[in-house]
Subunit: 340 residues, 2 copies
């Protein structure tokens, strides 16, 4: 089977965003009434999925998407912790409804109720709710809840450790994924996302996170940011910083997805990164929703790029399915429980 | 001839850094005596170059380096404007002495006296001094003088325009190059540099800078950050943002260097970026000074990677010489004045 490990519910019914807008308006003006929880029918959810992600999933020949709330919508920098918690629960519940309606095609990954300056421990309850009660298999962890001001500590700092302990205990990985940017220097999907990926990777080289958490698994999306393109730089920097070589120091625990939107980029990714570290993904529908005039296909139809590679059947299975089942043990367990 | 468009004086005699240390100490404790200008003999400068950059330049088969002060040392986030001005002048004067001693092998590019919150106009005097009096051919422009907090406006904001007007008037390009990072999230050469490159490129897509300055030339170093690896993403984002296609909108004015420290990265760069937009460079000795155990050669010996490409003689001449002479008209004029 073919598992896309990176999809967001960017096509949710408008009521979800209406709720968020009302929530933000109330935060700015407490005289306003509290935002009412969105009322969305099963039919509206079905339609939002069937006409979009599911249709394209089938058209592109994939089977399942590891599905999480819209990343740019998480907006951890907006409002406060209480507001982030309500919003995370509403978004995660929406994902749960999609997964319940389409159990063969979607499995959940949660948004966390992060907020600038708030300890990451405070996100553990929602993580546990999503994993233990809703059957989610992972989470999106924002390394910069400030939205482009980068006011937290690096991911290798001990302040993040209680959360990593919980991830290991629950056997769920985290995708390192920022949200929107409120810094005018950084376009969200064109700069902030890619910078965060690159930044996280370099933090892992500098730190010793995986010596402390040998069972922690983290996915760096968007093809690992700039890391594969500058792989020589990172190998050299590890050496200069007296860190162990990357295969031992970082790449037992870190995985890159295939959200790289052209053939030459995918070619490079597979050339320099070990096949065991690459997870198929498209982020459909995400940053780039248009058709590439050079190919006639959607930029984010990444399966076409992977199909064009000269991979053995074994390697192809790893990228499309095996690696995802290994990195997300609860996904593997859920599939096995269904005889898959 | 072979021109390396990106070299920093990272091997300067210790007296230069001693001066900087004294300058910083005085800023922190005004009771200390003012830092004395560094006294460096011609022999010390000769030795610092002959044993390092010049030796390697010759060993690697290149002829000339476009040479500027150590980038991570610019430290625009340290001290105040007055301190940045003194430091920029001292560093630029050191470059001028190198160029005077080795006119066949080095030509100058200047550091600017930027400081957080200070208008970029205030850097024009030092730019003019370096270009008009010292014969420099370009400058390094820091898009984030705050050193990793990104508190200025994007490069496309009109606050930068007076400086761009001066660049066009003087016919000198700027390399977009940050300095050190005082944000613990960003390793300087492993994250901040690459993020800044990616960020600048996306700003150029969002903005209309080159419609306003058709003759402005900017170099994005380190192979364009993440841009070539994510070229499909950027082409797609330009489309989604209703911007013109990149060749017209950005790539008439923006150039990437070859500071990408492995063969696969260089292969990608030349595959997706037009040959007219690529300038040979190594940043020797810069971020990565060690030998790649996989090749037995220095990571930053980028000429080897370019030599390994299947380029026509014409394209090779463009990358090694022609493009640099076009992007740096004053370099071209200086070479022509010497019959080269």
């Amino acid at each position: 089977m073919i598992i896309d490990c990176h999809g967001h519910y960017t096509t949710a019914p408008a009521a979800l965003q209406d709720f968020r807008d009302a929530q933000i308006a109330r935060f700015e003006d407490p005289a306003l009434p509290a935002a009412k929880p969105p009322e969305i029918s099963d039919d509206a959810i079905r339609e939002s999925i069937e006409e979009n992600q599911l249709k394209q999933l089938r058209a592109r020949g994939a089977d399942m998407t590891v599905f999480s709330p819209k990343a740019v919508g998480m907006g951890h920098h907006i409002g406060d912790e209480a507001m982030s918690l309500v919003w995370a629960r509403v978004c995660n519940d929406a994902i749960h409804r999609v997964v319940t309606l389409f159990p063969d095609n979607f499995i959940g990954v949660c948004q966390l109720p992060q907020s600038p300056g708030v300890p990451i421990e405070n996100s553990i309850d929602e993580l546990e709710r999503c994993v233990n009660e809703l059957g989610f298999v992972g989470c999106n962890l924002n390394p910069d809840p400030s939205g482009g001001h980068w006011t937290s500590m690096p991911l290798t700092d001990r302040s993040w450790y209680p959360f990593f302990e919980k991830l290991v205990e629950l056997q769920v990985p985290a995708m390192i994924h920022v949200s929107g940017s409120c810094n005018p220097n950084f376009h969200a999907t064109g700069a902030h996302y890619i910078n965060a990926d690159t930044t996280a990777f370099m933090q892992f080289i500098q730190g010793d996170l995986f010596a402390d958490f040998p069972d922690l698994r983290l996915i760096i999306p968007h093809g690992g940011g700039a890391a594969p393109y500058h792989w020589g730089r990172y190998r050299g920097l590890a050496d200069m910083l007296k860190r162990p070589p990357l295969p031992d120091h970082v790449m037992k625990n870190v995985f890159f997805d295939t959200c790289v939107y052209h053939q030459a980029g995918i070619d490079l990714l597979f050339k320099v990164i070990d096949i065991d570290n690459i997870l198929f993904a498209s982020e459909m529908f995400g940053a780039v929703k248009t058709v590439d005039p050079e190919t006639g296909y959607n930029f984010d139809d990444t399966k076409r790029y992977v199909d064009a590679l000269d991979l053995s059947d074994q390697d192809r299975r790893k990228v499309f399915e095996g690696n995802a089942r290994r990195v997300y043990p609860r996904l593997d367990a859920a599939l096995k429980a269904r005889g898959k």
